[in-house]
């Protein structure tokens, strides 16, 4: 092995320590009793306190929060993906007049000003304050780069496919819902994943629009838990792992798509 390669491996090791050590420390803390943590915060766990997870799960009510998050994320990201398809495809094909205006609108979606106040006022005035529907509508509308990604990808689908389907008597809607989803699968999953990450990780809009704690998503549930159990680090670490675990599992399966999603999103953006 050359000196250069040894240096490279050393540099990689330093980077890995920065990323893996906090996660290992989190797990180590979650497995200790609070007393053991304070008597020996850095040492490897001596007496496993697995009970932390059960305690955190029940006291933090994470089952209910998790369910809320799953509903918000699944509904908003699905609807957002559907919208990106419905508006991105016809504009890309020139089936709508004024193509340039619509493209301009798609780009403008990326540079909207911070609209917390007006989104709150809108939800307040249509009587959806505190309702899950209102929150889901706001999260759905945050489609961001979706329409641009769809219209970019549609360019790689030959227009002859549209013509052939039409000649066979397939109507527009049947084409969009029956044929396009399989043709556009890579880009639609990208759009879904990008929006799902955004919805799952939101805390600000949930804070503003959902005052009733029973409707909180899991991110907000964890934040409230942190406020209640300040400096009970073992319990907090266990709660953090509970919230992060589904993401870790999803990440292991989806990471290849995720990386592709981010490149697609960034280059378009």
């Amino acid at each position: 092995m050359t000196t250069g390669r040894i240096l490279s491996y050393f540099a990689v090791a330093v980077v890995m320590v920065f990323y893996l050590f906090p996660l290992v420390f989190l797990l180590n803390t979650a497995l200790k009793s609070n007393a053991e943590f304070f008597s020996n915060p850095l040492g490897v766990v001596q007496h496993l306190a697995i009970g932390n997870f059960g305690t955190a799960w029940t006291r933090g009510n994470f089952g209910a929060y998790m369910l809320n998050s799953i509903v918000y994320t699944a509904v908003a990201a699905s609807l957002g993906t559907l919208i990106s398809l419905l508006v991105g495809f016809p504009v890309s094909r020139g089936y709508m007049k004024h193509t340039k205006i619509w493209y301009g609108l798609f780009v403008a979606l990326l540079f909207l000003p911070n609209a917390l106040v007006t989104q709150f006022q809108l939800i307040l005035h249509i009587n959806l304050y505190g309702s899950q529907l209102g929150y889901i509508l706001i999260m759905t509308a945050g489609i961001g780069v979706g329409p641009l990604l769809v219209s970019g990808y549609v360019k790689s689908i030959p227009v002859e496919l549209d013509e052939a389907a039409a000649l066979d008597g397939v109507g527009y809607l049947r084409y969009v819902f029956g044929f396009l989803p399989s043709l556009l699968k890579p880009v639609l999953s990208t759009v879904f994943i990008l929006q799902a990450i955004g919805v799952w990780n939101d805390i600000i809009l949930a804070t503003i629009l959902l005052p009733d704690q029973s409707k909180s998503p899991v991110t907000l549930g964890l934040f409230a838990f942190q406020g209640t159990y300040t400096s009970q680090w073992s319990l907090l670490a266990a709660a953090t792992i509970i919230v992060a675990l589904p993401l870790m599992v999803a990440y292991i399966f989806l990471q290849r798509y995720l990386v592709a999603s981010v490149i697609g999103g960034a280059v378009k953006g």
Partner: protein
Amino acid sequence: MSANFVFGRRSTVRASFFLGLLPVVVFAILPAAAVFVVAMTDIRSLPFLPVHWVWFQNYETFFSAAQIGYNLNALKNTFVFAFAVTIVQNILALLIAVLLNQKLRGTTFYRSVVFFPTILGVTVIGLIWTLMFNPTASPGAAIWHLFGSSSAFFGDPNISLYLVIFVQIWAGIGVAVVIYLAGLQAIPNELYEVANIDGASSWQKLRLVTYPLLAPSVTANVLLCIVGSLQSYQLIYVLTGLNNNATQVLSLAIFAQGFGGAGGSSQSQGYAAAISVVQFIMVSVISLIVMAYLRGRERKL
């Protein structure tokens, strides 16, 4: 515009297009446009209170003697935060990308690890680093102790902004690394072979081949980073709270003034909207200038 429409009547296309667009217009675009209007009123967070036109009074308040100190401080923190995050994150990301672009064992795994925080979300990231830097029992405290010192970390106004910047870079660098890696892999290998034949050193290859061809990735990353970091506040909110002078940034001020309860429910959200407008103008101007500069540089290279 392809003139042929093959599916018979266009009305179905129009109907489905506008049906799809409707929720986006109502719940994203109209509120965004309304920010400019609401910023000229004294609208409050309670419904059924009378709303008055105050025209430019909210902007006068922004620059008034009572508020200018708070706002200049928020502006200063925003610039320090955005500048440090953009510069450090891009340099480190480029180095890591070059490192992972070599033929090492396990590069896919390393890339996944660095990218992982992207999906974790600010509450989880916030808790991990609050734990790492808790003042009494933590790795952070242990390191400070080695130097015979101690710190309140996120509670210490002298260093909390820098710690927040550190966590933001830790969390966000994965995206930049992935974009740089994609850019690096798009550079044809032949160019390096030619450079080898010409007897170029590693440094010369980096400077004369890699760097110029990576220019589009640099533009994308720097712009993303500037626009993102000028507007980011969620991580700051979970790490150091809503009303913390040391880490107050402009976007957090919008949230604090509109919803923070500093002035109770009688607080004017019109004022928060005015801060939104100020921020929007600032972000637009800065990103246009930076974009023009980076595009110009790309052409020269």
